[in-house]
């Protein structure tokens, strides 16, 4: 079991509870303030800063992680709600052999510009492909409807998801 003690420079509320989280296959036992969100626990306790704190209130999708197979907003998930669940963040998508096909296709197709929305979009797309290996353009559009991107205009993102879906079907 991975176990990390973490200190950060920001003044943090006092940890009162110990929660057990399974993130990207690793088990963590971590001290958190009871009122933390999953996003705060990931970013400030586990130092998994891939999931972004955008609006912090459910509008933008930058904090999207996958919980028990479903795309979920970690900024609205009380940390205790994630216990006994399987959490996957963008850090969990790549394997030891290399990036996830989605990550590779985002790179090849130029689907990320500033990149702030990208971790959330990758998680929404990965959850989609796990359930729907051959999605239509409309299904991709719908699956990413809760992920706002202010840079790209989405076209290259849709193309990258289609490219990754095709590669995953061959694998």
């Amino acid at each position: 079991m991975a176990h990390r003690a973490v200190t950060t420079s920001m003044p943090m509320p006092r940890a009162t509870d110990v929660v057990r989280l399974r993130v990207n296959g690793d088990l963590y036992e971590v001290g958190v303030p009871a009122h933390y969100t999953l996003l705060e626990a990931l970013r400030y306790e586990l130092l998994l800063t891939g999931s972004k704190q955008g609006c912090d209130k459910g509008d933008c999708g930058a904090c999207t992680v996958i919980i028990d197979g479903r795309a979920t907003l970690s900024c609205l998930t009380p940390v205790h709600e994630a216990e006994e669940r399987d959490v996957v963040t963008v850090e969990g998508l790549a394997s030891a052999d290399g990036p996830h096909p989605l990550q590779d296709e985002f790179d090849l197709k130029g689907a990320a510009q500033c990149g702030f929305c990208t971790p959330g979009i990758l998680c929404s797309a990965a959850a989609l492909l796990a359930r729907t290996p051959d999605p239509s353009r409309d299904e991709i559009r719908e699956a990413l409807a809760g992920n706002l991107c202010r840079c790209t205009g989405y076209t290259k993102i849709f193309e990258a998801v289609e490219g990754a879906a095709a590669r995953l079907r061959v694998e």
Partner: protein, 326 residues
């Protein structure tokens, strides 16, 4: 970054335990289901309960199935599960559609049907950070003494903004509530009151445990239409639900319409059955119904869009919904 106020998080597994936690911490406790409404509101300091009772692990609140002539929807079933459920799609496609049009996909994966029924009313001057609200001297609904919408009024007119209740209402659904006083059933059509500060008949110690939708006559159809700024994620600016009992040739026996997104409660449109009964649902009848609806709907400046435009959209969306009945 929006910090949550401090609270203790309770995760009961049984309904009795959840109800007794609500009694034990009375006055300083709220139930939370998907949290997609309550957590942002707490981050905005609209609620600061010292205790949250989480409902997602309570066994009795789960499940979607047919039972004694109705469809039972457990309160914590997610909107994704409602929208994708084969039974719901088969029996009540308009309900599946309404659930599938709430917010965006991640939110629907978390949000529950019970939470949608109990959604807090919304207003431009209310759903803001504490800092923002303070700058304006707060408002009647929270921490202040005036209403910025009505200017003079002593009444809050924040808008009921949930998508599934109008559809549940036209389908004659019933909300089942359990609390310290026992169990009671309230038709969804009577569940709401015209008070933006507290717009439901739910008592603080009570939970919605399930919603029952009667599997009424097979001749009954329902439809739904929603106006919003961005179709990807936004709250409704106006939602219309209609249901009709019709013959094959579209002769109407019974017709119901409910609109919401305007005032503090969903409004059942008056006089519709009288106009429609015995007539064929054709373009002329649809126009008459739309006109009747317009006369009853007066959007306010409780949302960020122009109320005149929103009013003009009422007949447009009424027609849209009615045309979806055939």
């Amino acid at each position: 970054m929006l910090r949550l106020p401090e609270y203790r998080y309770h995760q009961p597994r049984a309904l009795a335990e959840a109800l007794s936690l609500l009694v034990e911490h009375q006055g300083d406790v709220m139930p939370v289901a998907g949290g997609t409404d309550l957590i942002p509101n707490m981050k905005h300091r609209l609620f600061e309960p010292g205790h949250l009772v989480a409902l997602k692990r309570v066994e009795e609140l789960k499940g979607i199935h047919e039972e004694n002539g109705h469809l039972r929807l457990g309160a914590t079933e997610t909107l994704t599960d409602v929208a994708e459920s084969r039974v719901v799609r088969g029996c009540f496609p308009a309900l599946a559609e309404a659930a599938g049009h709430v917010a965006g996909p991640q939110l629907r994966n978390m949000a529950t049907i019970g939470g949608n029924l109990c959604l807090e009313t919304r207003c431009t001057y209310y759903n803001q950070t504490a800092f923002w609200r303070q700058a304006l001297g707060y408002c009647l609904k929270k921490d202040g003494s005036i209403c910025h919408v009505t200017k003079v009024g002593r009444k809050c007119v924040a808008a009921h903004s949930a998508d599934t209740p109008p559809v549940l209402a036209v389908l004659d659904a019933v909300a089942v509530l359990e609390g310290p006083q026992g169990r009671r059933e309230v038709p969804v059509g009577d569940f709401f009151v015209a008070d933006g500060i507290a717009n439901t008949r739910r008592e603080p110690g009570e939970l919605v445990t399930e919603i029952r939708v009667p599997l009424g006559p097979r001749t009954r159809r329902a439809a739904y239409a929603k106006l919003r700024q961005r179709n990807s994620i936004d709250f409704p600016l106006l939602t219309v639900a209609v249901s009709a009992d019709m013959d094959r040739d579209l002769t109407v026996h019974e017709l119901k319409g409910v609109v919401t997104g305007l005032g503090a409660r969903p409004r059942e449109l008056a006089g519709w059955s009288e106009i429609a009964r015995g007539h064929v649902l054709d373009d002329d009848l649809i126009d008459a119904l739309a006109e009747r609806a317009l006369a009853q709907c007066h959007p306010l400046e409780n949302m960020i869009v122009d109320p005149e435009w929103r009013r003009a959209m009422v007949p447009v969306y009424i027609r849209k919904a009615l045309r979806r009945l055939f």
